[in-house]
Amino acid sequence: MSGRLLVATRKGLFTVGEARGTWSVLDSAFLGDNVSMILPLPDGTVIAALDHGHFGVKLHRSRDSGTTWDIRPAPAFPPKPEDVEDLDPTRGTSIPWVVQRVWALERDHRTGTLWCGTIPGGLFRSFDEGDTWQLVESLWHEPKRKEWFGGGADLPGIHSVCLDPRRAERVVVGVSCGGVWVTEDDGRTWACRAHGMRANYMPPERAFDPHIQDPHRVVQCRAQPEVFWAAHHNGIFVSTDDVGSWTEVTTAKPSAFGFTVAVHPTDPDTAWFVPAMSDERRVPVDGRVVVSRTRDGGATFEVLDRGLPQSHAYDIAYRHALDIDASGSTLAFGTTTGSLWTSDDQGDSWIAVSTHLPPIYAVRFVDGE
């Protein structure tokens, strides 16, 4: 059983701990501030991304598991050349070269490199534990990047960064909206790999265009890293060939719509989702909060509701608000209405840690690699 969980919310960062089988909120930091993303590391380092709205995006780093914090430079875009035109294809307005939200934070534990995805769609790296950041220019200047458009936000963004456990040079990123991109050469070149994904929000002739897909969240199985799962704007997709192709999973109950997904660390056929009705109506089906789980690669799904509210409940779990610990037995998810649940039996049953936290953006277990 894992012992600690960090919860990033609209109004602060909360530490949740487990003692004798009971999870409870232990501490808070940045109370009142918007914490968009959190990255806890095994050595006690924690990186928190704040969005102050008026005063911009900030990164804070703790070396003592969140007891004290130092502000560190946040990723920032280089000066935009005056002769560069960079227009949002949907609205025709200029894409600001200004980081507006940190939407993904990961660390490659082999190299120590930190990766950061942002809105607008920048990918940044830090080789010095967050003291400085460099834009991955190859992706930013990729011509197809200019076809990306906003999904869930006015501007496009990178929300998922999957660091391949086999080779540090291979990284997969998920973009809303811009598909799934992979580099095989440590970020020198990139290719879009969203073949098979389907977009109902586009005209039929472009429904399978890889570059306009909206994977809400992309996760990779650690033990069998050729398997990826995606919670997509139009359903659930799975890839078993290293994102060479994606297959739509249509068997999910009670709905295939949702923002988040978790895959078991060692069993690639087992994945969890927190479904909502549909794109048009983003509330739980019938006002019942449930988690759906497949154990057979998407052939069938179980609907897990033990311990979850089953009447007039309107909790929605965002992209990063579901996590599984390294052992694969304990899960947690948080919602837009400030509910946080944990499960120590792979989702069979859930226990509410709190139902009155601020809106939750991200939950992450502090268990390492």
Binding site: H54, F55, G56, K58, A74, F77, P79, P96, V98
Partner: protein, 89 residues
């Protein structure tokens, strides 16, 4: 010398006491402030060096107009107030 003061909303996040600095434009005056208090800069200016979308600057009660270059003139007796715009929520 121009006097620069910051909204209490910003002082909650970063040390930025009122100060008197050299400078004949908002940009030059603020740059002097940032020399003393480097952490303040990214709270006020964005990645491109422009005033953040939801920050406003007043010069003697008049709103600054050049939000990109911050070239508005200031005099030795100017009072520069860096505030947060209500548009930001």
């Amino acid at each position: 010398m121009p006097r620069v003061a910051f909204t209490p909303n910003l002082q909650r996040h970063v040390v930025c006491p009122p100060c008197e600095v050299q400078g004949d434009t908002v940009r030059r005056a603020l740059n002097r402030v940032f020399e003393r208090y480097p952490d303040v800069e990214t709270y006020v200016l964005d990645d491109q060096g422009a005033l953040r979308t939801h920050v406003v600057v007043f010069i003697n009660g008049r709103q600054m107009t050049d939000r990109t270059s911050l070239s508005d003139a200031v005099g030795p007796d100017s009072e520069i107030y860096v505030m947060q715009a209500l548009s930001g929520g």
